[in-house]
Symmetry: C3
Subunit: 354 residues, 3 copies
Amino acid sequence: MKQVHSQSQYTLTELVRGLEDVVIKGNPNCLIQGVCTIHKAQVGRITFLNNPSYKKYLATTQASAVILMLEDAEICPTNALISRDPYYTYSKIAAFFDDHPPVKPEIHPTAVVGQHCHIDASVSIGANCVIGDNVTLAAGVVLGPGCIIGEFSTIDEASYLHANVTLYHKIHIGKRVLIASGTVIGGDGFGIAKHKGVWHKVPQLGRVVIEDDVEIGANCTIDRGAVEDTVLKKGAKLDNLIQIGHNVQIGEYSALAGCVGISGSTVIGKNCLIGGGVGFAGHLTIADNVMITGMTAVTKSIRGPGVYSSGVGGLVTNREWRKNSARVHRLDQLTERVKSLETILLGLTERKEI
Amino acid sequence: MKQVHSQSQYTLTELVRGLEDVVIKGNPNCLIQGVCTIHKAQVGRITFLNNPSYKKYLATTQASAVILMLEDAEICPTNALISRDPYYTYSKIAAFFDDHPPVKPEIHPTAVVGQHCHIDASVSIGANCVIGDNVTLAAGVVLGPGCIIGEFSTIDEASYLHANVTLYHKIHIGKRVLIASGTVIGGDGFGIAKHKGVWHKVPQLGRVVIEDDVEIGANCTIDRGAVEDTVLKKGAKLDNLIQIGHNVQIGEYSALAGCVGISGSTVIGKNCLIGGGVGFAGHLTIADNVMITGMTAVTKSIRGPGVYSSGVGGLVTNREWRKNSARVHRLDQLTERVKSLETILLGLTERKEI
Amino acid sequence: MKQVHSQSQYTLTELVRGLEDVVIKGNPNCLIQGVCTIHKAQVGRITFLNNPSYKKYLATTQASAVILMLEDAEICPTNALISRDPYYTYSKIAAFFDDHPPVKPEIHPTAVVGQHCHIDASVSIGANCVIGDNVTLAAGVVLGPGCIIGEFSTIDEASYLHANVTLYHKIHIGKRVLIASGTVIGGDGFGIAKHKGVWHKVPQLGRVVIEDDVEIGANCTIDRGAVEDTVLKKGAKLDNLIQIGHNVQIGEYSALAGCVGISGSTVIGKNCLIGGGVGFAGHLTIADNVMITGMTAVTKSIRGPGVYSSGVGGLVTNREWRKNSARVHRLDQLTERVKSLETILLGLTERKEI
């Protein structure tokens, strides 16, 4: 459950209470009313320095406090919160200033709730939600307006579905799961069999299982399994507009940036980092601790950890790009020319030796 | 209309009734309660062998029956259903175990229905649907909860729109069409004209026509035509998160994997297979029977059948990828070096000959 | 506000009234009942010639009038409207035949409206909309059915949200903004911090600001800022299925084709043209007047105007593509062979010289 913070300002001492390994340098009673970025900072606000490319703004920042690493504290012109992990520390402090609207436990009178549902008294169901028969919603679950929950689906404690999320039937959502608007979970996988020139639909009989602490962005699509289940494991994080095909598994604590597409039956390991726009072929296995750079086409399984990419990268002018393409398409010819040179030269040197 | 199967188990004889070219090898009275995958099989379940990469699991499968081709029957350790097309045969048998929730013909009391609509008595309209004026819904049409159907749209027999599908005005949906949740059909095409530095909207006056037996996945967008119609022809199959620009035509029985984007006025032929993440420029013509591999950039028309790809493929380590990029960008230089060698060598050999 | 045209046909004189720089060649009283394309033209319809690749259809077009440039008027077989900018002129004339359904100012009885809202009397709120507390809707705003507007959001004059658009809290929409169905604005940005092997959510405290005259297509996702706001500046145009990360800024009158993904904190200049499927890394700065071709991976900032692309392009057969890949991966080897040749040849020529 989200902690509620009711004050409009906090001292640095209050902000770091309970955080391990954070040391205040400067005035612990400095009052903070909100957050800011380091380069557009204001008095009364707190910021953080994590990305080295923003370090140039530190010396002149107008913030009243900066969360940073010990090595950067020296040149900090104001109060500092020294942390081994400034971005994590910032995430905890920013929560004090979170103004996302609070929700109250109620079933909105316009919501349509099916039969035989188990709905905890602490659940909040927004206007115009449609809950199918035999749905279970555990303590603290929040459904934004317009959510549609299919028959026999279950949502575990403290999960939060924003407005207009669609769950098909028999979907399982774990604890503390966050799902942004427009996301569709449990649609049929893309199973079609061609027979005598015509596609036939292959029934999709599996479910989708979303484990605890998963976060899913807006307008994603996560298909139900064909036979077994599609599974997003504990703590996996998905950005927006991601397509997860049937039978896919995403490992624990893996993070996928926006616009990723994963074809059916591919299994991704733990702690992977998948860049934006990456596409995976089907039936692949990706090891744990793999990082894939943005827009890579993953066409084969990856057996060990490391950073992977595809093809030829590099942003260039369109003129240069046209040349590159031409050069690559003439590589055969260049190779032949080198071969000819080798033959001639071999002839020359052999004659010499004779 | 979906066939209803009410038993919890079936003999192999019952399962193959009516299927041509399927032969039972083993015990025809073997009882089957459900489906399974070949590598995680269970007693009482039926599976299939289609993808050769799963053949290694056949000899040890725990399934009670396997649908497979004649050549694989020899090593099948259990009952076999021999078929020339195991995946198609599986699609028919799996339908016996489909537990998608049944729908009943009713207009939910919360649905908002416009004036002058023609709605067959067998139609099912889910909770919170909004049906505009002058809409026609033929026999057996199902609208899941939250669907919005624009004015003058028509949906023909037995088509099924899952929850939260949006149709704009004057859209035509054929017979037995399936549309998954979140898909938007008939939004304005991306028609903008720049005049004196400012974009002006170009009215989009065409419609969208979805022919019979088309299937469309979740969160797709299919824009209405600018002048004429955008058309998905009979039996075309679209996965999730696909963008279809204005005036596009998709040929009969073509199948598009997830995350494909097709720019305006491109025409795709019949029986094409388009891989995931493929992008098409506008105003192209793609022949029948074309296959395009995943994430290809289709920048020109394709005149004949075949398999097409773009650029340079191959998944490599990021280190190798950086090298590749550098190598390609130095190709001019390499070509120059070869040219120099050729000149020198020509000089040498000429002198020799003299 | 959209102009209302109530006639079923217009003379050319009526159609060009008020348009600068348009000259009628032929019969100004010719009656026009609608628009058509140049190659599938009909009597009584008007078309335009803008794309040179369609010029071949001009001489035989069946249209009753063609909007075209002076240089094409010579070979026009029918009435012509001569314009310096035929596509812009067409956009104005096509508006006469726009049959998008009219809307009337009303709050549909099924809409749920929160407390303390400011809703102009001319606003139209469709069925099943859910308007949060403290929302402001200015004159002429239209919300299609099923829209959800979060608390404290404001929508300025004459903006039009089609069915099923979702706005989170504190979003600002300017004047005359168009948003197509399924689009989600203001979801949390993808801010996660890993600490002791576990991802922690970073609160997203910024808003989204959509300035005047922006158009956004269907099923787009535009995340709220992490600290400051995500901003789409005046006159920016977005096609469908576009992902805009937190803190992104899109410059005035820039246009983005479908399936573009922009990672967090990237800033795009004015008057840019971004092709379909382009992906941007985060924290980049793109200059004004930049054009990026489709499916480019933008991995670094762009400092000046021009046309940019990435990697190696060119659509080829899959067989050729496999060769290309192999060639590129053997480039090191080829370079070594050239180096050997150079060494040998240097030896030869030196010996000669000695």
